[in-house]
Subunit: 363 residues, 2 copies
């Protein structure tokens, strides 16, 4: 019998675990693994899409000039660079969670369970956030490759399938967000304001005679938003900490710092309404951040390929016609097309055998 | 030769079309088809997910009470009901676009091209919006079915593949948004404010010495947002008009009206920052809208299955174990599982043949 936490004595007496959430420990470890895997899948997708975007040329920025690499379009940078930043954000948070897990495990052997509920909440939220962000990010990468991203040989559809399942398994995301909301110790202005507002709404529904559980259900859309803001804040905080504390060269720290700013500003501008409503940012400040976002995209553009190269994912793992390190996109697409039975001959045999006689028979 | 608009005279002289955008007419018609198809795919997905959510029971709202249908959870309603509303919104806009197309075509035969650029912009924007909304909506439906949504036999993964391709083909979405932004006649406060802000930013970059085309590229993230706000406004306007003008019973108009409010409030609350920044809504007003959203979800909950039943999509078309009209979800899942070669016997033959000898051999 698996008796790490609970016990059955020889006389048959069942001894409950010291803490009802003791079994959560292992769950946390599994979730660290999920965050890291989500991160890995996003890394693969963004490597493929970034390299492809440096090879693919299309359309024009200035009429009459040669077709630029599509990575020169701001809209393309806006698709890919925040995903590169996400890889670092998720990785740093996963590592932090793993460290906290080891610390809490040590405490637990000494009978100290104090941090366990917080750790469980954090791991639930990080699992939900990383699965959702990576899934969305992988799909943005796929779509950024146009029709080629739809090709099986790009490997992006398979990476999507391998990523999106994490939204559902090991705690369905919406359920997890609601679990986080039920603990919801939030630090940042926005998360705090959201929690305060939602709490007063919950109270109002109860005052109007609703049973607490029904009132909770009727606030659950907002509760999910509270939990998301809380976990986003956590990830941003860890990203900032790591950029400051990492033992890296000043050049590398500069790039990491820019990626971190991009990550923060990307998410602030996506959710600017929350910041306006809690009064932590003014409309003018958000405009300034939008300007900075634009500058960051331009400034990180030349680093993009080097950063994904540094992820050091081997071609065998990427398994993609679009994303191999040598940039031979069209050669690989052509080789892959040759494998199709339809391309064995210029005109498929079936035409001569069936279609041609039919068309010539003048029915 | 295809000489509807341009001509080659007998002496070889090439006569240009009367208007350089004349060929856009047919393109518009194709895009009406894409909007309708996106709508159809979303209809299928939301039918499957809504019916499944009325059959599937899980967890509890009030501790100790029986497991509710998952459609009773507000978070589930928030996933599905806005998709039902979207079906109507997209359908009404597609129909309006088709009517405008016929009118503009008639004008064109009389040599009046005035409305053509606007029509082209509108059709580009509606194609981009409907492809993106339907793709996101189908995926929300799939995820709302938990692990079962990942099953091939749910048919949701196939519906997703059939929907998402529309983001890429017949004008890639980001490219289309930028085309809409280059015409950008916007009616609503938000769209207008976004356009004014973006225009002044564009001007500032030019004043700072940037070539107009580079400045355009450096504003393109915001330009896309302008175009999206413009088209979202168009769809909302058409939805409102149709609810008012449709020759339906007052009961049905009531339901349509609620769906329309849900559609509006859903998108306003998703983009509340834009409304706060242009001053068209205050923070308190948005809170009121959030309350109304919650009430609308509760109020539309009992209508959900009836509405998707009214889409009248036959089981053969849905081709889904989860979404057939009779609600026999588990029976169909079981039947489908029986088809797997792994389930032909209780223990697969390979166990007796290979694994068992190996395990008994005490290596």
């Amino acid at each position: 019998m698996l008796m790490k936490h609970s016990q059955v004595l020889k006389d048959g007496t069942y001894v409950k675990p010291k803490h009802e959430k003791l079994a959560y420990g292992t769950m946390v470890l599994v979730r660290v693994g999920i965050v890291r895997d989500a991160c890995k899948q996003l890394q693969r997708a963004v490597t493929i899409a970034t390299r492809y975007s440096a090879v693919r040329r299309q359309s024009e920025i200035v009429p009459g000039e040669p077709e630029p690499q599509i990575l020169d379009f701001q809209t393309q940078q806006y698709k890919l660079l925040p995903q590169i930043a996400s890889v670092f954000a998720l990785l740093f948070s996963a590592n932090d969670l793993a460290t906290t897990y080891l610390q809490v495990s040590k405490d637990m052997t000494k009978g100290n369970m104090e941090m366990l509920p917080e750790l469980h909440s954090l791991s639930s939220g990080l699992k939900a956030l990383s699965a959702a962000d990576a899934t969305e990010g992988v799909e943005i990468c796929r779509l950024s490759c146009g029709g080629h991203g739809y090709l099986k040989s790009s490997n992006l559809p398979r990476i999507y399938s391998a990523t999106t399942c994490a939204i559902t398994y090991e705690g369905e995301n919406t359920v997890l967000w609601l679990q986080v909301a039920s603990l919801g110790r939030s630090l940042q202005d926005v998360a705090l304001k959201l929690v305060v507002d939602t709490e007063s709404r919950l109270q109002r529904l109860c005052d109007m005679g609703q049973n607490f559980h029904h009132a909770w259900n009727n606030c659950s859309v907002l509760l999910v938003r509270c939990a998301q803001a809380h976990i986003r804040y956590f990830v941003c905080e860890k990203f900032l900490q790591r950029v400051k504390s990492s033992a890296v060269s000043e050049g590398l720290r500069g790039v990491l710092h820019q990626l971190c700013r991009l990550y923060l500003i990307y998410h602030i501008t996506l959710n600017h309404g929350d910041f306006l409503r809690c009064g932590s940012l003014t409309s003018a400040q958000i405009s300034t951040l939008e300007d900075e976002l634009s500058l960051l995209l331009t400034s990180l553009r030349p680093q993009a390929v080097a950063i994904v190269d540094a992820f050091d994912i081997h071609d065998e793992i990427l398994d993609s016609t679009l994303g191999a390190w040598d940039g031979q996109v069209y050669e690989r697409l052509y080789e892959d097309a040759l494998k199709s039975p339809l391309n064995k001959t210029d005109v498929p045999e079936a035409y001569h055998k069936f279609l041609k006689p039919l068309m010539k028979s003048q029915l």
